[in-house]
């Protein structure tokens, strides 16, 4: 009997050998490639995904979102809720309890003072902090004791999880950044390139826009992790090269965000060295219609402003017909493959907020033609529809990107089938998404009839995202063409419903209102024509285990758990 137990024990030990014998650094080296290279390791000075994700291996927040978008305690002992008393009943404050015993990589203890300092660092009036909006509505952050932090809000906040969560809200070390407040922040090159963190790795060599070398953090809280002793984090090149290095040559173990045609990825996976993984978040590729007239004949300063409604896109029938003519299934097949799903909403996730209406999905060219006929838009001699001398001729712009150009060509052809003429234009992404008020080609200025791009929201609550489409928030000359209401959508009923959302704390009720708001923009009015719910495709080699792709937080959120498959 004894012997049997011992044997069983031995068998069990053998079966769990990798876990039981796990030792920090036992698996040697791991190579990660990001085709956009990180330029700084301080997410408060750059909001770029590449920078945030690289930094997430080193510095950590109090709470992280897991692959399902559920908030998990990370440096905190537990996630505060109203039920466990962490969130005040009147929703005006939240109290985080820090997990005891956490050390910075330099061996000093992690305390609530660091959290308080992080708030001070980001909200400094001269700082130019990229994550400032995370602290919107925060009245104060105070340390109750060494391991307790209380965040007080100016008004009741139904979702108080903005500060210190996710890749955008890591805690930085007060001692290291003490002299880097405000205007001094950019000058602290050493701190920005070599931040001291609580994460599984620490930086040994940082070459901006090129390569980062890291080693296991000797003071990491779990003595068995990370499994890798060193990391090489290479940046630069293009998505195809990154995919090739993981899937075909096997030089690298993990490649981020492979924005490639599905057939290209399939061809690479066929080499058998690795696999492509995908996950979905809230990113939606959409066509935004312009509610105002972008005509170059209008005087500068009046183009694309509320002074002049659009000659034909202000007709809901035209917008609906444009949407009906599009075959979203095919767009997904051509452009995104496993990383895309046809969608009718701009809030595709989380389930509570996602509208389930899918009446836009089937392509219906005949129906679209009938709709336009009915609305009085009749085909002229050249096959283009017109009404009262207004021709359905559309300037369709987007940023330069192979998939977007394929989409443009496809959509142009479908629209030609319903008698709509389309001129295509593509603008370099750095100009299109740059807010330069001097350039006519920015997406905010919208000197085109329709434009296509992708947008998403941070975290899991769409309130501020939906509030973008509030009347008065449109880019216009008076605001230097800043503003998020790109369509110049203006509906008092929508604004009233937004105010209601901001007052509502009940989770289900918030979901109902948010769904209704999103539907008002999409399937009810087709002000926004959603196309594809875009997921993320990344790739890892067959010998890399423990990868869990996460679109709600940094992709490298669980890098401490990665291991080498033997």
């Amino acid at each position: 009997m004894r012997l049997k137990t011992a044997l069983l024990g031995a068998v069990a030990l053998a079966a769990f050998a990798p876990a039981a014998m796990a030792e920090r650094g036992a698996d040697g080296q791991v190579n990660i490639i990001y085709w956009q290279a990180p330029s700084i390791l301080n997410p408060y000075l750059s909001g770029g995904t590449k920078d945030i994700e690289a930094a997430s291996m080193i510095i950590e927040p109090l709470g992280r979102y897991d692959q399902d978008g559920v908030l998990q305690a990370w440096l905190a002992a537990e996630v505060p809720t109203v039920e466990n008393g962490g969130v005040a009943a009147d929703l005006t404050s939240i109290t985080w309890k820090i997990r005891p015993g956490i050390l910075w990589s330099d061996g000093t203890p992690f305390t609530s003072a660091d959290v308080v300092f992080t708030h001070e660092y980001c909200t400094h009036p001269e700082g130019g902090c990229a994550q400032l909006s995370k602290f919107d509505g925060v009245e104060s952050v105070e340390a109750i004791d060494d391991l307790t932090v209380k965040i007080t809000f100016k008004a009741p906040t139904p979702v108080p999880y903005g500060p210190f969560t996710g890749g955008q809200g890591p805690v930085i070390q007060a001692a290291q950044f003490a002299n880097c407040l405000g205007a001094a922040a950019p000058g602290c090159t050493d701190a920005n390139f070599y931040p001291i963190g609580t994460g599984p790795f620490r930086v040994t060599d940082f070459r901006p826009n090129d390569v980062i070398q890291m080693e296991a953090n000797p003071n990491y809280r779990d003595p068995a992790k990370p499994r890798f002793a060193t990391v090489t984090f290479k940046g630069g090149g293009d998505a195809a090269a990154a995919g090739r290095a993981v899937l075909e040559t096997g030089e690298f173990d993990y490649a981020w965000n492979l924005q490639l045609a599905p057939s290209v990825i399939q061809g690479m996976v066929a080499a058998g060295k690795g696999q492509a993984i995908s996950a979905f978040g809230t990113l939606v590729e959409r066509i935004e219609t312009n509610m105002t007239n972008p005509s170059p004949d209008l005087p500068e300063g009046e183009r694309s402003t509320l002074k002049h409604p659009h000659p034909f896109l202000s007709d809901p029938a035209v917008r609906k017909a444009l949407s009906m003519a599009i075959d979203r299934e095919l767009l997904v097949e051509v452009g995104y493959g496993q990383a895309g799903r046809p969608t009718c909403t701009i809030v595709p996730s989380p389930p509570n907020f996602a509208s389930t209406r899918d009446d836009c999905l089937g392509q219906d060219v005949a129906g679209a033609n009938a709709l336009l006929d009915e609305a009085g838009w009749l085909r002229g001699a050249d096959g283009i529809r017109a009404k009262d001398g207004v021709r359905l001729s559309i300037l369709y712009q987007t940023s330069t990107n192979a998939v977007r150009q394929d989409f443009q060509a496809l959509v142009k052809q479908w629209w030609s089938e319903i008698g709509v003429e389309t001129e295509l234009k593509n603008v370099s992404a750095s100009v299109f998404f740059g807010g330069d008020p001097g350039s006519p080609d920015t997406f905010q200025k919208f000197y085109a009839d329709v434009e296509m791009y992708a947008n998403n929201f941070d975290g899991t609550d769409p309130q501020s995202y939906l509030a973008n489409y509030r009347c008065g928030n449109e880019p216009r000359p008076e605001t230097g063409w800043q503003g998020e209401n790109i369509n110049r959508f203006c509906d008092p009923a929508y604004d009233a419903l937004l105010d209601e959302l901001a007052r509502t704390a009940n989770f289900e009720e918030r979901g109902r209102i948010a769904r209704q708001l999103a539907e008002m923009l999409t399937v009810d009015s087709y002000t926004i024509i959603p196309l594809v719910d875009r997921g993320r495709v990344s790739a890892h080699s067959n010998s890399l285990g423990g990868v869990v792709l996460n679109t709600w937080d940094s992709e490298l959120w669980n890098v401490a758990d990665w291991y080498r498959v033997k």
């Binding site: 750059s46 909001g47 902090c129 990229a130 090129d210 090149g237 290095a245 040559t249 992404a429 740059g434």
Partner: protein, 335 residues
């Protein structure tokens, strides 16, 4: 010649300042925003404050003046400090990149080694191949050697490096597995194995660039040699009974070098500008990649500094070319 050189050096200073001003104006005028690559989820007010923190709210002429002072006054002091161990530049604000929030020159120093090794060696190799090919193809015009040389150099020049680079990677990295497809900039050559690794990661980018450079230079060499081979002085030299080698390699070659020297001299600054596409394809991440990512990110201090350094090199090497003309052909006089 000496006075000419001195005069040129003196006029170079106002020229360069003017060039720097034009570059600045151009960058100011170009559309773009250093925050273009930031996610759309960052609201407008936050963007405004980030711009202010970069110093973008100051007037253009103030920013130009600051940059100029930093370039000609602060940065040389920093270099002197490093050499002499002094601390003249302490507390002075250096040129900071908007992407990295770090001194522009520190990053440039970091990038020079890989650019010089890859692009520089490729250039030298290219010139070494091109000159003999050009000479032989001209001397044996329309021979099979000339025809093949013409064919290879024309294909080499007309097929862009974004294609040849990827093709080499597919053949030699993916299918044969001989060379790495990604250049390791952290590799230090300390012993024989690391030297082998360095060579093997350099083979493909050097080959691509050398082919491109050689194609161009050999064409100019060939045509210039052809022009000179028919000149009267060649007939005279041969009539005097000089050896064919002397005639071709001393007389003809020297007289044929003027257009070639121009091409070569104009090419040297481009070594420092890096090879943008080739560096991207092989992930060499040198100065070329630095410039293109800075342009894409609208990192104006970085673009301005890099292009200005480039301008200084261009002016210098054009001067060198002009002096070389005088040496190659003593009849050319500038004074």
């Amino acid at each position: 010649m000496l006075t000419y050189t001195l005069r040129r050096l003196l006029t170079a200073v106002p020229t360069l300042i003017f060039i720097s001003f034009v570059i600045f104006l151009l960058l100011e005028l170009a559309p773009g925003d250093p925050l273009a690559d930031q996610p759309l989820t960052i609201p407008a007010e936050v963007r405004e404050r980030m711009r202010t923190a970069m110093g973008l709210d100051e007037a253009a002429h103030v920013r130009y003046w600051k940059w100029l002072v930093q370039f000609v006054w602060v940065e040389p002091q920093v270099i002197l400090d490093r050499w002499l161990g002094t601390s003249m530049a302490e507390g002075e604000l250096r040129i900071l990149s908007w992407q990295f929030r770090a001194p522009v020159f520190d990053i440039i120093w970091q990038r020079i080694p890989q650019t010089l090794t890859v692009v520089g060696i490729a250039y030298v190799v290219g010139v070494m191949i091109a000159l003999p090919i050009g000479i032989v193809s001209a001397y044996r015009q329309y021979s099979w050697f000339d025809q093949i040389g013409t064919f290879v150099s024309m294909v080499g020049f007309s097929v862009p490096t974004f294609f040849t680079g990827v093709l080499l990677i597919v053949i030699f990295s993916v299918n044969l597995g001989w060379f790495p497809s990604i250049y390791d900039t952290t590799l230090r050559v300390t012993d024989w194995p690391s030297f082998v690794r360095q060579v093997s990661q350099m083979v493909m980018p050097v080959a691509v660039l050398a082919l491109y450079n050689a194609a161009q230079i050999s064409r100019f060499m060939r045509s210039s040699m052809l022009d000179n081979l028919n000149q009267d002085y060649v007939r005279t030299a041969r009539a005097k009974g000089m050896g064919e080698t002397t005639v071709v390699l001393v007389h003809v070659l020297r007289n044929s070098l003027i257009p070639v020297v121009t091409v070569i001299a104009l090419g040297v600054p481009t070594i420092f500008a890096g090879a943008i596409i080739t560096e991207q394809v092989f992930k060499v991440n040198g100065l070329g990649q630095l410039l293109i990512t800075a342009i894409q990110a609208n990192d104006l201090p970085m673009v301005q500094t890099l292009t200005f350094v480039f301008a200084v090199l261009i002016v210098t090497f054009n001067l060198i070319a002009d002096i070389l003309y005088g040496i190659l052909d003593p009849r050319i006089r500038y004074d």
